[in-house]
Structure formats: C-alpha cells, structure tokens
Amino acid sequence: GLLELYGRMVRIRAFEDEMQRLFLRGEVHGTVHLYTGQEACAVGVCSVLRDGDRVAATYRGHGAALAMGTAPRGLAAELMGRSTGVCGGRAGSMNVIDLEHGLIGCFGIVGGSIAAATGAGLALQRSGGVAVAFFGDGAANHGYFHECLNFARVCRLPVVFVCENNLYGEFTPMQAVTAGGDIRARAAAYDMPAEKVDGNDVERVRAAAEAAADHARRGDGPAFIECLTYRHLGHSKTDPGVYRREGELDEWLARDPLTVAAARLADDGTAADEIAAAEAAARAEVAAGVAAAVADPYPDPAIPAREYAP
C-alpha cells in the first residue's frame, strides 16, 4: 500500500540527508549526486518488480539501490569507501553495483544504464523477467538512448525505460538542449508505449510502471515512462545553483513526493501517528545502518586485486 511506499521514500530521503552530512564532513569523497526530491520515481517503479528482474541506474542511483533492497549500511559504507561497502569500497557513489538485489549497477556514463538494461532484457527474454533503465532528461540526447531504444524495440526486449526528467542536466536546462522538448514523443517514434507521468506522485509512477512492466513481461517489447520530477539539491557537490528559475525550487518543494504521499495517506484516513511511525521506522533503520557504516574499516590496500575473473 501507499504507506509502505511512503516508508521506502522516507528511507531514501533519510539516507540522502545522511550522505550530504557525511560528504560535508569529508567521509564521502570525490563527488556525490543526491536523489532528494525524486524518490517517487525509483520507489514507484521498483515496487512493481519481481525476483529476477533487473535494474540499471545512474550515478544518481542511491534511490534505485535502496528501492531494490540494498542495505543502507552497505550502501553508506560503499560511499565512504569502506570494506563493508556493497562493492568493498572499490566503486564509490557513482558506480554502485548490487546484483544480489537485482541492481546491475549505477552507471557513471550518461546513457550507460540504458545500454545495461537493454542487454539485460536480452537475457531476461528467456525467463520472463523485466529489465529497467533509469536515466535523466540529459541522457535523452545521447547516442545510447537512440541506439538502445531502437535496438530494444526491434528485438522486442522486455525493458522498461524510465526517464527521470528533472528539468536539468547538470546546470543546463532540458529545454535548451533537447530539440522538440518532448522526450516522450521521441520514445513514441520508436513505436513503443510511452507515457508521461507526475514523477512526484508515487502511485501514478507505480501505475505507469505496472502497465509498462506488464507489456514487457507479456512479450510485447519495451515501454517508456517519462517521470516529471525535480532534484531539490544541487547536481553534485559543486553546483552554482544559479540556473534555477526564481521560485522554481519552492514550487517543487511544495510538491515534494513525500509531502504528496503523506497528504494522500491522511486524506485516505491513515492515522497521523501511523504515518509518523512509518517515517520514524524508516529514519531509524537508515540511521542505524549509516552509524554502523561509519564505524566500518577501510579496505586493506595490501590485499592484491585480481585483474581477471578466474
């Protein structure tokens, strides 16, 4: 139900809050791309997936990882470069991989997730599974987008392409670099079902994902969803932020996916303390995981790495 979805979104929000704090404290290194504001997309989509399905996400992928079941501790430890990280600290924030939970990976190359899911679709075709690609509006201008959507359609692969249109690629407005400005229409030109949904409404996202996954699972080929959403924070650690239209952030904060879901829960008669309990539970789980991760050790560089799988 929605309460469950709400809890999952809070989990992501709480996690990203922690990561921002840890980044500022110097515990998360390099750069970090937070998912804050887009939680409904990953939670809504991943909630329709089954065992054996697979997801490919981007460098902005903590939400997808958590939505697939990656433990907060292992994810936090990865971002801090600890040996208990889900990739032993080797990958870092931009490249998290967690196959046990169906996450093929977060891909640091814009468009890479689209290719990974397309390939996974080729394999899952045999088993009735579905592969999901998350990517941004900026990726819709990349060769990966075009080649892979066409390839997937031509081969009738069970892939759900999820474009999280958060209006910007880094500091550049989507409208300034996207001819036609309509990403959904591009997907439709490849002759696949293509829907545009409010990406801040987890139930609408879920419904669209259900239809898309059904289509794919049925053997009818790929489907496309454009989720209109917004990132509340900067693109990554360094972000002038000046590109936002005045008042834009406030408008979107008012449509925060957590607020939207909480309001609907209340409207639907869920007791306030039930909502608060779900939130508290999610936050507590994350806090515990992150606290554990902070105490985890760094990997030992003396242990030799293997170039090849044996």
Partner: protein, 325 residues
C-alpha cells in the same frame, strides 16, 4: 582436418553454441547473410533467430547489449564488422565490461566476446583497415586475442567464449583464406607460441606479421641467419615470458607490427623485454608502418605494409649481413 581460418572461426562458434545454449551471436548482417566476411554462414539456420540475429547499425548498442546480457546470464558473441568501428563500441567495452569484475568487487564477471575483422592489404582504405589492438591494449580487465592460424583461431575462439572475462578477437582480413590443420587442443589466452625455432634472432609478431616473418626466415636462412619466429597470439595478457626465454638465447629481438611505431604494441614489447632482460640483449628493434593512415592505392598500400621482403632486409641490415646475391 585442414580448413581455412574463416571456416575455423565459424566452426568454433558453432561448436561453442552447441555446447552451451547461453551462447548467442548478433551483429550487422551476421545471420541471414552469414556475415560480410562470411565467417558465420549457417549459424542462424542451425541455432535459430533467437540465438543468432541481425541488428541495426548501432555499434554502441551492440557493445552495450553484450555487456548487459553477459552480466545477466548469457554468453554473447558480437561481431563488429570492421575493427575500425570498435571506436564506436568502445565506451561500453571499456567503461562497462572491462571494469565490472573489479569494480563490483568480484560480484560478477562479464563473459562476452567481440569479434572484428582487422588489418590492411585488402584495398579497403584508411577507415576499413585499422587494427584496434593498440586502442585497447592498456585497458585493464580486457583480453585481446589475435590468431594467425586456423587452429589458433579455433582454439582462441573456444577459449574466448568460455572465458569469464570480456575478450576481443581480432581476425585479420588477409588471413581468412589461409588454410591449415585444425585440431582440438586448448589454446590458452595469453600464451605465445614459437612457430619456428631459431638461434640468431627472435622475430615476434601477430596475425599476418607471423606469416610474413615465417616467409622472411627462408631468405634469412639462405643468408646464414637462423630466425626464431614467435606468434604472440594474444595482445592482452601478453606472454612476455616466452619472448624473453627466446631472446635470452638469440640476444636479438625484432617486433613487427601492422601499425605506427609510436603507441604501438611492438615498442611496448621491446620496453617490457628491456625492463626484464636488458643484460641479455645485443639488439632490439621494430618494423612498423609509417605514421600515416593506411593508403588505398595498391602500390602505396603495398609499400606501407611491412612484408616479408622488408623483414628480411631489415634483419640483414641490422645484423650487418649482406644479402645473398
């Protein structure tokens, strides 16, 4: 059984597909047409369109589909028609496939094979004659094999398909019609082979250069120079040990590469040997192409490519032996 290299490739692919139904093959015109170089005829007929299929002209998607399917249970073999087009596929190969095993902390490896036709001499011009080995040789996590003989093509494709890591197979266009015995012994990736024992100079090459070196060994023998010829067979990992063992005996090393000197594998091989066996060396040098793209015009292309004559002349000159009249 004697067969040509083209057929050895095909037969090895067919055998692997029979052995393991996770193996799939896709690429541009590989199915219905059996491949532009006719290296895959009959495969769609035997294995069906689910396992062998033609694709759009989308090299980046091909490499990406190979990656994604390889980490999800398949064993894809992809044909990138000409090695020159590997640049278009490179991002997925380098930034996804080659890095996955290490970066995932060994959660999974990426068992894919990318085959491509490489090399000059076919009058195909500068954009259909390159050997992308040097673009990729420094990429950790990747393997690169480069057969010179039908049996090695068979054995290396077998090994590549079975290998849990991403493997690039370079198939030299001028070798497709070359015939030879094909056996069944495994050919480990990363092992060179002495194809002609000798005592005076070690000549190392790969693919077509091995044949040129063997041809050059004849006039050299007539001039009293007994050349040892080594076929590298793999460019990554590279079997330095076999080369060094040989050079310790001959004290002279010539590496022949179909490509420019700077940034090539030949000078890198010399460097690695010098690093490990400097004291044993009397001479080391390379024979490569000029630093330009491959020309189209036949006399230009013939002069551009290092052939048997040039090899023999180079060895004679470097050893200070005058050519037999």
């Amino acid at each position: 059984m004697s067969t040509d290299l083209r057929t050895a490739v095909r037969d090895a692919l067919a055998a692997e597909m029979r052995r393991d139904e996770r193996v799939v093959l896709f690429g541009e015109d590989v199915a219905a047409a059996g491949g532009v170089f006719k290296a895959t005829p009959g495969l769609v007929e035997e294995f069906g369109p689910e396992r062998v299929f033609d694709t759009p002209i989308s090299e980046l998607a091909l490499a990406g589909a190979a990656f994604g399917s390889a980490v999800s249970g398949l064993r894809p073999v992809v044909e990138i028609m000409f090695g020159d087009f590997m640049a278009l596929a490179m991002d997925s190969l380098v930034n996804q496939s080659a890095k996955y095993w290490y970066m995932s902390n060994e959660q999974a490896s990426v068992p894919l094979v990318i085959r491509c036709a490489v090399g000059g001499g076919g009058r195909f011009g500068a954009i259909h004659s390159q050997t992308p080995g040097t673009w990729l040789q420094s990429v950790a996590g990747l393997k690169i094999v480069a057969p010179a003989f039908p049996d090695d093509a068979r054995g290396l494709i077998e090994a590549a398909v079975r290998d849990p890591n991403p493997v690039v197979v370079l198939e030299h266009k001028r070798l497709y019609p070359v015939a030879g015995e094909v056996g069944s012994a495994p050919v480990p990736i990363g092992s060179a082979r002495v194809v002609r024992p000798g005592t005076d100079v070690t000549i190392v090459s790969a693919m077509r250069g091995v044949h040129d070196a063997l041809a050059a060994a004849e006039p050299l023998a007539a001039a009293g120079i007994d050349a040892e010829v080594i076929d590298l067979r793999s460019l990554r990992p590279l079997d330095h040990a076999t080369v060094i063992e040989s050079v310790r005996r001959t004290t002279r090393l010539l590496a022949i590469e179909e490509g420019p000197h700077l940034g090539g594998w030949a000078s890198g091989l010399l460097g690695a040997v010098a690093e490990l066996a400097l004291g044993d060396l009397d001479d080391v040098w390379t024979l490569t192409t000029p630093p330009t793209p491959m020309p189209y015009s036949p006399p230009l292309e013939d002069a551009y490519l290092p052939g048997a004559d040039a090899i023999a002349r180079s060895v004679l000159a470097r050893l200070g032996v005058s050519s037999p009249a």
